[in-house]
C-alpha cells in the first residue's frame, strides 16, 4: 500500500524550469510504532519548511516486506532520498532537524539557491 503525499502541484513546472531537482522521498516504517509516527511527523514538518517540490511515499514493511530488499532497508525508520541522485539514506526518528537537512544535502542546496 503506497501512501503518497504530493505538494506544490502548480509550482512543479516553474521550479523545474529554474533547474531545481524534483524531490522524491520514501519513508520506510514497520507498523505504527511511536518511532515511525515520530519520524513521519518530523519529516512532514521538514518538507513543509524546506522543500517546495517533492513527493513522499510511506512504505509499511509489515505489509510489503518484499520492498525492503530494493532500497536495502535494515533499520526502521529509514528515509530514502531517491531523487535527486545520489541516493541518500537517513535512519532514525528524524528528531534532529539539522542532521536531516545535512543528510538530505538541503543546506548545500539552499545556499546555492540563495547565492
Amino acid at each position: 500500500m503506497k501512501n503518497q503525499t504530493s505538494k506544490a502541484k502548480n509550482a512543479t513546472a516553474s521550479e523545474k524550469g529554474k533547474g531545481k531537482a524534483v524531490w522524491q522521498l520514501r519513508l520506510y516504517v514497520a507498523g505504527q510504532t511511536p518511532k515511525s509516527m515520530a519520524a513521519l511527523t518530523n519529516l512532514r514538518k521538514i518538507c513543509e519548511e524546506h522543500l517546495q517540490d517533492y513527493t513522499l511515499e510511506v512504505i509499511d514493511l509489515l505489509k510489503q516486506p518484499q520492498l525492503a530488499h530494493g532500497d536495502q532497508i535494515l533499520a526502521i525508520p529509514t528515509l530514502v532520498r531517491k531523487l535527486p541522485t545520489p541516493m541518500k539514506k537517513i535512519i532514525g526518528d528524524l528528531s534532529n532537524t539539522e542532521r536531516v537537512l545535512v543528510g538530505l544535502d538541503l543546506r548545500e542546496a539552499r545556499r546555492k539557491t540563495n547565492d
Binding site: 514493511l61 525492503a68 530488499h69 537517513i90 535512519i91 543528510g103
Partner: protein, 580 residues
C-alpha cells in the same frame, strides 16, 4: 528396571536434538550436528572458510535433508555468491528457483547513511522473516553480521538489536549459523560470542614455513559432547572435508589373509606367502636402492589380481614413474587405463601435512583401493617437524588399517645414517620392514635386500641380492664366503671360479673312469686267457685219460691173448670180472 527405563527416556528427551550439517567430518566431531533450533557461531580470520562452511550447511540441508534454508549475505553480491556456490558444485539459481533456498543480499554503506534519533533493525527482521516464510526455511545463515557494526555507528542500539535477533531466531525454531570475523584477543571482533551461547566453531588458517593449513575447532558446545581438538580441513570442489581423529584407536581387524609382495622370491622370504593383508610395509633404503621399483612391483601384482591400487607420488610425476618402471619390465600403463591403478602426484610443499592427510583420506575414500603406496614418506614429512610427521603417519596408518588397506611406504635414508633407523621414527608402527641397502665392494655398487622385521610370520633372515632386470625385479642368493657377502661381479667371479673347479673335478673323474675301464678290460682279457688255458689243460687231461684207458685195454687184451695162448687160468679170475 522401570525407573531405569523412565530415566533413559527422560535422558533422551533432555538430549539436545541435532541438525546434521552434511559436511564431511563435522557431524562426527559435533556428535551429530549443530544444535537444532539454536544459533551457532562460526568465527575465524578472513579467508579461512567461514562462508563456504555456511553455504554448504544451507545447500546440503536443502539437497540432502529436505530442509530449506535462507542465506543472508552481508558481504557478497548475488553474482559472487552464485559463483561461490557453483565452486562447491551447487547451482544456487536452480535451488532458488525450486524454492529450496532463499537468498537475500544486504548492502550497507556507512557513507550513504545519516543517523538521527533512535531506530531499530526491524527492516532486517522483516527481510529475514520474509525470506524464511517464502521457502519454509529450517536453516538460516547470516554471513557476516559484523558488517552491521561497520555500517551503523550506534553500537548500543546494535547490541540490543543483535540480542533481540538471536532471541528471535530461537523463537523461530530455525537452526542458524552466524559468521563472525576473528578479533584481537576475542573470538570475534565485536564480541558476537556473547550472544551465542550454544555452539561456537572456530576456523583457523595457519601458515607454517610458507604452507597454509586450515583447522577447525569446536570451542563450545553447550549440552553436547564434542571433539575438542583442532581438526585439519580441506576445501575443494565438493566443499569441506574435515578429518576427524576420533577413529584413533587400536581395535582394527587383523586379517590372516596374505597378499603377494610382487615377487615370488620375496614372498618366499616372507614365510612363503607375502605380506598380511591390511598390514603396513616400510621399504627403506638409500637413494637408488630400488624402493620405488619394489613398490611398483607390489602395485602391479595387486592390479593383476584385479585389485585397485592407489599410488601417492611425492617425487615423480605419474608419467615419469610409468616410463621408468617400463624400463624394468613393469608396465603400469594398462592398469591405469583399466582404472585399477590411480596415481595421485603432488609436491609435498603443495600444502601442509594436515592437508596432505585430508587429501589422501579423501582420495582413499573415493577410490576405495585395496593397496596404497606412498612414495616416499621421507619427502612428504620433510615439510613438517618430526613430531608432526609422526603424528600424521600414525593417523594415516590407523586410517588405512581400519579400512583393511595394505599400505607400502618407501623411505629414503640418507647416506651415512644407520640402516635400522627411519627419519620419521615410525618403525614401531610398521608391520613389515624391508631394508634395501647398497653394498659397495670392489669398486661397484650392488643392491641388497633384507627383511628387518615382519610381524606375525617366520620370515627369512637372509640377505638377498636385489636385481633390477629388464624383466622385472629378481632376488638372488648372495655368496657368503670368508670375505663376507659377495654380490655383483664378485659373486659372478666367485661362481665362475666354482664352475671351473667343478669342471676340473669332472674331467678328472672322466679320466679315472677311463682308466678303470681299461684296467677292467685288461683284467677281463687276462681272465679269458687263463680260462682258455685251463680249458686246454682240461682237454689234455681228458685226452691223456682216454689214451691211458685205450692203452690199458690194449694191454689187457694182449695179456688175455697171451694167457690164452699160454693156457693159464691164473689170469682168468683176475680179468674175468667183466665177463663172468
Amino acid at each position: 528396571m522401570e525407573t531405569n527405563d523412565i530415566m533413559a527416556k527422560q535422558k533422551n528427551l533432555d538430549q539436545l536434538q541435532k541438525t546434521p550439517t552434511g559436511i564431511r567430518g563435522l557431524d562426527e566431531i559435533a556428535n551429530g550436528g549443530l544444535p537444532k533450533g539454536r544459533t551457532a557461531l562460526v568465527c575465524g580470520n578472513a579467508g579461512c572458510g567461514k562462508t563456504i562452511l555456511a553455504m554448504e550447511f544451507i545447500a546440503r540441508g536443502a539437497l540432502d535433508f529436505g530442509e530449506p534454508g535462507v542465506f543472508i549475505a552481508f558481504e557478497e553480491t548475488p553474482e559472487e555468491l552464485e559463483k561461490n556456490f557453483l565452486s562447491l558444485g551447487f547451482d544456487l539459481k536452480k535451488l532458488v528457483a525450486r524454492k529450496m533456498i532463499a537468498v537475500d543480499y544486504v548492502y550497507i554503506e556507512r557513507s550513504e547513511i545519516e543517523e538521527t534519533g533512535s531506530y531499530d533493525l526491524d527492516g532486517l527482521f522483516i527481510r529475514l522473516e520474509h525470506a524464511i516464510d517464502s521457502v519454509g526455511a529450517k536453516r538460516v545463515v547470516l554471513d557476516t553480521l559484523e558488517v552491521l557494526f561497520a555500517g551503523l555507528s550506534d553500537a548500543a542500539i546494535l547490541r540490543a538489536e543483535l540480542r533481540r535477533l538471536f532471541r528471535w531466531l530461537k523463537q523461530k525454531g530455525v537452526t542458524a549459523i552466524v559468521t563472525g570475523e576473528r578479533g584481537q584477543g576475542m573470538l570475534t571482533r565485536y564480541g558476537l560470542e556473547e550472544y551465542v551461547a550454544d555452539c561456537v566453531i572456530l576456523l583457523d588458517l595457519r601458515v607454517q614455513e610458507q604452507i597454509a593449513t586450515r583447522r577447525l575447532r569446536v570451542v563450545k558446545y553447550r549440552g553436547s559432547k564434542h571433539g575438542a581438538d583442532e581438526y585439519p580441513f580441506l576445501i575443494d570442489e565438493h566443499g569441506l572435508s574435515i578429518l576427524p581423529l576420533s577413529s584413533l584407536s587400536l581395535n582394527h581387524q587383523a586379517s590372516s589373509k596374505r597378499i603377494s609382495a610382487g615377487n615370488a622370491r620375496l614372498d618366499r622370504m616372507l614365510d612363503g606367502k607375502g605380506y598380511f593383508r591390511g598390514s603396513t610395509v616400510l621399504v627403506s633404503g638409500t637413494a637408488g636402492a630400488g624402493k620405488s621399483s619394489l613398490a611398483a612391483a607390489f602395485v602391479l601384482s595387486a592390479c593383476q589380481r584385479g585389485e585397485r591400487a592407489l599410488y601417492f607420488a611425492f617425487e615423480e610425476s605419474p608419467a615419469q614413474i610409468m616410463r621408468n618402471m617400463n624400463s624394468i619390465g613393469l608396465d603400469l600403463e594398462p592398469m591405469v587405463r583399466k582404472g585399477l591403478l590411480k596415481f595421485q602426484a603432488a609436491r609435498p610443499s603443495l600444502h601442509g601435512l594436515e592437508m596432505h592427510l585430508v587429501t589422501m583420506h579423501k582420495a582413499v575414500d573415493e577410490f576405495q583401493p585395496a593397496v596404497v603406496v606412498l612414495d616416499p614418506i621421507s619427502n612428504l614429512v620433510a615439510v613438517a617437524t618430526v613430531t608432526e610427521g609422526k603424528s600424521m603417519l600414525t593417523r594415516l596408518i590407523d586410517f588405512l588399517k581400519c579400512d583393511g588397506i595394505t599400505a607400502l611406504f618407501t623411505d629414503l635414508i640418507h647416506g651415512g645414517a644407520p640402516l635400522e633407523t627411519t627419519n620419521e621414527e615410525i618403525s614401531s608402527l610398521i608391520d613389515t620392514w624391508i631394508s634395501l641397502r647398497d653394498m659397495e665392494v670392489n669398486g661397484e655398487r650392488n643392491r641388497g635386500l633384507q627383511i628387518i622385521k615382519s610381524r606375525g610370520m617366520a620370515h627369512s633372515n637372509q640377505i638377498r641380492e636385489f636385481l633390477l632386470t629388464r624383466k622385472g625385479i629378481d632376488l638372488l642368493d648372495v655368496y657368503l664366503g670368508p670375505a663376507g657377502v659377495l654380490t655383483g661381479s664378485a659373486r659372478v667371479a666367485q661362481e665362475a671360479e666354482e664352475k671351473a673347479e667343478t669342471l676340473v673335478q669332472q674331467q678328472q673323474r672322466v679320466r679315472k673312469q677311463h682308466e678303470w675301464r681299461r684296467k677292467r678290460l685288461s683284467l677281463e682279457r687276462q681272465m679269458a686267457e687263463l680260462r682258455a688255458q685251463s680249458e686246454m689243460e682240461a682237454e689234455e687231461e681228458r685226452q691223456i685219460g682216454a689214451q691211458d684207458e685205450a692203452l690199458a685195454k690194449t694191454f689187457a687184451r694182449n695179456r688175455n691173448a697171451l694167457a690164452n695162448l699160454r693156457g693159464t687160468d691164473q689170469f682168468v679170475s683176475r680179468n674175468g670180472k667183466g665177463r663172468k
